[in-house]
């Protein structure tokens, strides 16, 4: 926890550098002050975290793994969009998350996937007229 706060302070420090050098007093004025306040506050928080006796909850909790798994599924789905398009991509995505999270049967997931794909295609693509990426599937 404390290490992470320190890490954040370092990030904030490095982000703070360009404020001073790159810009004149006009557009750089507010960012510079943001930088200064950020650095002061992050230092205080870091000191507080270091001195705190109770370290609080750890960053990784038992169920964090599940969240990471879902994150990976989301990322895979996003990567597949240029290839599969939104409708098919999200159909597979719903299928995967239902299986992973809820442990539903494959049949249920499959049906949900098809319903989702068709639903997205008509709701967003037709009714709301959003030009969804279709990918190579073309639908």
């Amino acid at each position: 926890m404390a290490v992470l706060a320190l890490g954040m302070a370092v990030i904030l420090f490095s982000r703070q550098l360009p404020y001073h050098s790159d810009y004149g007093p006009g557009p750089g004025f507010l960012p510079m002050w943001i930088g200064v306040v950020l650095v002061i506050c992050s230092l205080i928080v870091t000191v507080q975290e270091l001195r705190a006796e109770n370290k609080g909850e750890s960053f990784f909790q038992p169920r964090t793994r599940m969240a990471v798994k879902v994150l990976v599924v989301i990322a895979i789905a996003f990567l597949l969009f240029p290839l599969l398009g939104f409708s098919v991509g999200f159909g597979l995505f719903i299928c995967a998350t239902m299986r992973l999270m809820g442990g539903h049967r494959w049949v249920t997931c499959g049906v949900a996937a098809i319903v989702t794909a068709v639903g997205i295609h008509y709701l967003f693509g037709h009714w709301l007229d959003i030009p969804l990426p279709t990918g190579l599937v073309g639908w």
Binding site: M1, L4, A5, M8, Y23, G26, P27, F29, L30, P31, I34, V37, L38, C41, S42, I44, V45, Q48, G56, F59, Q61, R63, T64, M66, A67, V70, L71, I74, A75, F78, F81, P82, F86, F90, F93, I94, T97, M98, L100, M101, G102, G103, H104, A112, T116, I120, F124, L128, D129, I130, P131, L132, P133
Partner: protein, 503 residues
């Protein structure tokens, strides 16, 4: 009378078939969102925002307002029946509401909440009609110095009302401001923090950030901390059980009245919000009561007061949003983003330029509150059934809506990845106990704050004294300083106490 004329026009707008439909959908949807733990009003509105590109802004804002105050009703049901607050604004309701349910008086608890909410909501709309135009008229005199001071005060108050470490609140505010500076600088046209990435030149769209932070982050968060799935209390709720006895009325009438007044004024304070309102109302009621020992053991006043307050606050929160363009909570901040997306600038001029929108919205609140009263007396079982939707299905759809929302802003996949990035950032912030609301408020207000700061400094030739010599601005600045001082002072006092204890 000007007021009645305006209200008449407002009802003409609100009572068109289309707007009644949007209003009913909004309150119904809000009620569902309120019942479901793990998804709140800002998330719901953020996810629906991109879908409103093509509909009339008046209808859209009527729908969103419906969601906002509908949520304040809906959270009650789970608080009373399963002791799990559906929303943070109904935490206080659990204390006495669940106890009442255990005593077999769930119907009475839900009913007093619904009626109290309705009275408070309606009273709050009346007060809003009186206050908001006056506030707008007053704000017409505001110059850049006043607006900057006002945003400073709003940011300052966040540190007072937040539960979190005040320094973390400030860091979160600063991160929001920083995000708002990305893109072309409005005054000089110079790119800032774009790092040569062309997509960053236009700045981040609010929608992308909001969809990530409230939609996808909420999913991660709920996966990690699943709500305890409480047992719904056995026994059917019959309509007969919903009726209140005469003693109930006598016990709760002043609680409803006080709750409404407290809720209205707390809701108007920037950063006050509906949760704070319900806390204050509950505590006030306990203090006023002749029998404070009954609180926490199923006192009907303990349900009536916070429930009335959260509703009154959800409506009065529109006063600063509409009249000043300053949102007081995450939900109203998301709505402000919506206004900007539709090309409408809330603020003092809104009451003149978009009178139909404002009065239509206000009139729709009467309609919406009435619909909610009916729903909460006759349709409780329907909403209880909603609780059976497994989260594994719901979360998938939250992600779908967030993604399509982020995509539809500019129709490109870059925004979708950005959204995921912001979701991860917000997830880390929640884990490290950094509040998200200041970031969102600062993000939405950032441009206004910076531009008014720089305009004011141009007017004064670079002298900071402009903020302190104008009386209104000086007042806001003074409030801001006080607000920033309170946590420091509190921290100092606490340290002294600790030291004294050690010595």
């Amino acid at each position: 009378m000007d007021l009645f004329h305006n209200l008449y026009n407002g009802f003409a707008v609100a009572l068109t078939f289309q707007n009644i439909m949007y209003c009913s959908f909004g309150v119904f949807f809000g009620q569902i969102i309120g019942v479901l733990p793990g998804i709140g009003a800002p998330t719901a509105i953020a996810l629906l925002l991109p879908l409103t590109f093509s509909i009339d802004p008046t209808s859209a804002i009527i729908m969103f307002a419906g969601i906002y105050y509908g949520v304040a009703y809906g959270g009650t049901i789970t608080s009373v029946l399963i002791n799990v607050p559906g929303e943070s604004s109904t935490v206080m309701t659990c204390l006495d509401g669940y106890q009442m349910a255990l005593q077999g008086r769930a119907g009475a608890a839900l009913s007093v909440a619904a009626i109290g909410s309705w009275i408070a909501g309606t009273a709050s709309v009346v007060l809003l009609m009186a206050f908001a135009p006056a506030l707008a008229k007053f704000a017409l005199r505001f110059g850049p110095a006043e607006f900057f001071a006002l945003t400073m005060m709003a940011f300052g108050l966040l540190t007072v009302f937040g539960e979190e470490n005040p320094f973390k609140v400030i860091i979160s505010t600063m991160l929001g401001l920083l995000l708002s500076t990305i893109g072309l600088d409005v005054v000089s046209g110079m790119p800032r923090f774009a790092f040569g990435v062309p997509q960053l030149l236009g700045g981040f769209d609010f929608i992308v950030i909001i969809c990530g932070m409230f939609g996808v982050t909420e999913v991660f968060n709920s996966i990690e901390n699943p709500e305890d799935e409480g047992e719904v209390l056995k026994g059917k709720l019959r309509l007969r059980d919903m009726f209140l006895t005469w003693e109930d009325w006598v016990a709760s009438r002043w609680a409803i009245f006080r709750g409404s007044v407290i809720g209205f004024f707390v809701g108007m304070i920037p950063a006050g919000g509906i949760t704070t309102a319900s806390f204050i109302a509950y505590l006030a009621e306990k203090r006023y009561s002749k029998h404070p020992e009954r609180f926490g053991k199923g006192a009907i006043e303990g349900v009536a007061a916070p429930e009335s307050a959260n509703n009154a606050a959800s409506i009065s929160g529109f006063a600063p949003l509409l009249a000043l363009g300053i949102p007081g909570s995450a939900t109203t901040a998301v709505m402000l983003a919506g206004f900007m997306m539709w090309g409408i600038r809330p603020g003092p001029l809104l009451f003149m330029q978009h009178a139909n929108l404002v009065w239509g919205l206000i009139a729709s609140m009467y309609v919406g509150n009435f619909l909610l009263l009916l729903m909460n007396i006759f349709m409780i079982p329907v909403f209880v059934a909603m609780l059976r939707v497994p989260y594994s299905i719901m979360m998938g759809f939250i992600v779908v809506f967030a993604t399509v929302g982020a995509f539809s802003v500019n129709n490109n996949l870059f925004d979708v990845w950005m959204m995921l990035g912001f979701a991860l950032m917000a997830y880390a912030m929640i884990k490290l106990k950094y509040p998200l609301v200041p970031l969102i408020l600062a993000l939405v207000l950032g441009k206004l704050s910076e531009n008014s700061l720089r305009q004011a400094l141009m007017l004064s030739g670079g002298s900071m004294s402009i903020f302190f010599t104008h009386p209104i601005s000086a007042f806001f600045m003074g409030m801001a300083f006080l607000a920033y001082l309170t946590p420091v002072l509190r921290w100092y006092l606490k340290r002294r106490q600790v030291k004294a204890a050690q010595a």
